[in-house]
Symmetry: C2
Subunit: 353 residues, 2 copies
């Protein structure tokens, strides 16, 4: 079968042939329809994140997938069922986090991540997975099911952020998303129904498809070259929620200044090492006197995938179409992994029903 | 009546005479029994925190009080009832935070604080207060009711911290309190019943009454001169909760490194301005990959005072006695406000029943 993988001595993803996997007991065989590309894939390709599966000279990429159950193999899944696989797998035997159904809360060294860290991903004609890690989704998600995994990360992050504000009467007036990539835009769309006013920060010139999408959602585009994060309250308004989806190291700290009284900053980006000077005393005091919080969040579990499904179903029809700008066949791997400012979400289509 | 106040041109608190206040409609007159001294009082004296009441040439100190209702003045309070006053008052008319019963969530410019910012405090023979800000407490708190206000701040802070960890199955194995002042020790005592193992960080040599108290509680004393905060996981263990009660600016950032996977840092100290270099990228990433959170918290509301009452009632009898090391008459104001390493909690006693 076809697969898109990086090799240990390679710097670019390639289309390779490898045997179709056989499902173990408790696993189903899934025929892959589509797999999305995101920033993490580029970090994996560049060797900056995750790692190869043990004893493998290559790693199949891809962690945002939708497929069809090809062989139920004795599981409760029905053949033909549309499914989205979750990403984390137990490293050896299941540890406490997996037993609790919360693999997203496991430390990095107590889980593998398909397509990212220690396991092959989903960019292949067929994949196998334990039943428990395959989330059934409605047939309408054949084309857009690849958005469920990234949205599930937002479901989890916001669940934790909202929980942190649940001990008092939190006012949800204004929210700011840092980053206009696919995760930022998905989050912005979700926040429309929960906040009076929403903002999305990027560094792009018009005309730009992400700015169009931001404004079509009813949000305000903030150009970070004109208005740095810490200046947002003065230029616009202080924020009840800031969602960091860029991985720029300074944003975690600038977020504190962008928050309103009692606001929460949600951190999802994964910056590299960077040291810099901060007004640490003032930031510390600002957190305390304003009852502010910073909440870090990574990954998601099955319930977040189910919630993401509901969230995406409730978004306007045009949104997913506007977000998924580019669809490639596996053979067009080089084109698929080239970068362009006109693209928002790029998808590789292995098959359709 | 007697009162202990700082004057606009003075640098030390003095015993003064001023008229006994008359309760307005809706207010009760309270005869003060005891008032505690804490670090905030010294910051007020030094002019580093809060401010004088408008049009007053002095500010009566004190925000940790217990007293007896002297005149109910038509309120539902009974004369003779033991009460503890809350600290925050509306600046003019009640704003949304006071209307919701959450004055602790108000921004600094939308509230006054008795004895701290813009209102006279409780270090006087008599004080008046609206009924809503007087919390009835059992008679057993005559001597130790001054611990209810500081403990209420911990009740509020932990309520918010625990809320931030409520979206998953949080494991409460180990907790670390930064600071062995009265607030740190009160918090350490409260955490005994909730965590398997507790630690308290200070910078004192033995013999020391706070170290004795830490060890009598069953906790481990961590000397920050030997083990800095960020080194605590390597030397002891990573922490599920870190409670910052020193106001040292760098602690907010070092706390991130002291936390275990899925841990929460609770910030209560109020540092001054200080700028310094941080490993910002790594700290940001550590928050994200470990699902860690930082939660700032200030002040408390009536329900937290009620919770503090229950918490203190459940602590061993010896604890409050060991914590309140020094009791002075108002005339001994100079002694009361001198500092000594042998003291933990200093109290001024205006009257007893």
């Amino acid at each position: 079968m076809r697969a898109i993988a990086v090799e240990r001595d390679g710097s670019q993803p390639r289309l390779i042939e490898k045997p179709r996997p056989e499902p173990d007991p408790g696993e189903a065989l899934v025929r892959t329809l589509r797999v999305g590309i995101d920033g993490t894939d580029f970090e994996v390709i560049d060797g900056n994140h995750g790692g190869f599966p043990a004893e493998s000279d290559h790693q199949v990429l891809g962690h945002e997938a939708v497929g069809v159950v090809e062989e139920s193999n004795g599981t409760a899944l029905e053949e033909g069922q549309l499914v989205v696989p979750t990403v984390r797998r137990p490293p050896d035997t299941a540890n406490e986090y997996f037993r609790r159904g919360e693999p997203d809360m496991a430390p990095p060294d107590e889980c593998l991540e398909r397509g990212i860290d220690g396991e092959h991903g989903f960019m292949a004609d067929y994949v196998t997975s334990p039943e428990a890690f395959l989330v059934p989704v409605p047939p309408a998600f054949e084309a857009t099911g690849i958005l469920i995994e990234p949205m599930s990360n937002t479901e989890k992050a916001l669940e934790h952020a909202y929980a942190s504000r649940s001990a008092f009467d939190w006012q949800r007036d204004a929210a700011l998303v840092l980053g206009n990539g696919p995760l930022g835009l998905l989050t912005l769309a979700r926040l429309q129904s929960e906040f009076e006013r929403t903002y999305c920060l990027g560094r792009r010139d018009r005309p730009d498809p992400t700015i169009d999408l931001i404004e079509r959602l009813g949000a305000t585009y903030v150009d970070s070259r004109e208005t740095p994060v810490a200046a947002v309250p003065a230029e616009y308004e202080p924020m009840d929620l800031v969602y960091e989806a860029t991985g720029y190291a300074k944003h975690a700290f600038e977020t504190i200044d962008a928050l309103d009284q009692n606001g929460v900053g949600v951190l999802l980006g994964l910056p590299g090492d960077a040291a810099f000077d901060v007004a640490g005393g003032r930031l510390h005091r600002t957190l305390v006197q304003g009852n502010r919080a910073l909440v870090g969040s990574v990954n998601s579990h099955v319930e977040h995938f189910e919630a993401a499904c509901e969230t995406l179903s409730a978004l306007p029809d045009w949104f997913s179409d506007a977000l998924v700008t580019d669809v490639f066949e596996p053979a067009a791997v080089d084109d698929a992994f080239s970068r362009s400012p006109d693209r928002i979400k790029t998808v590789i289509e292995f098959d359709s029903r």
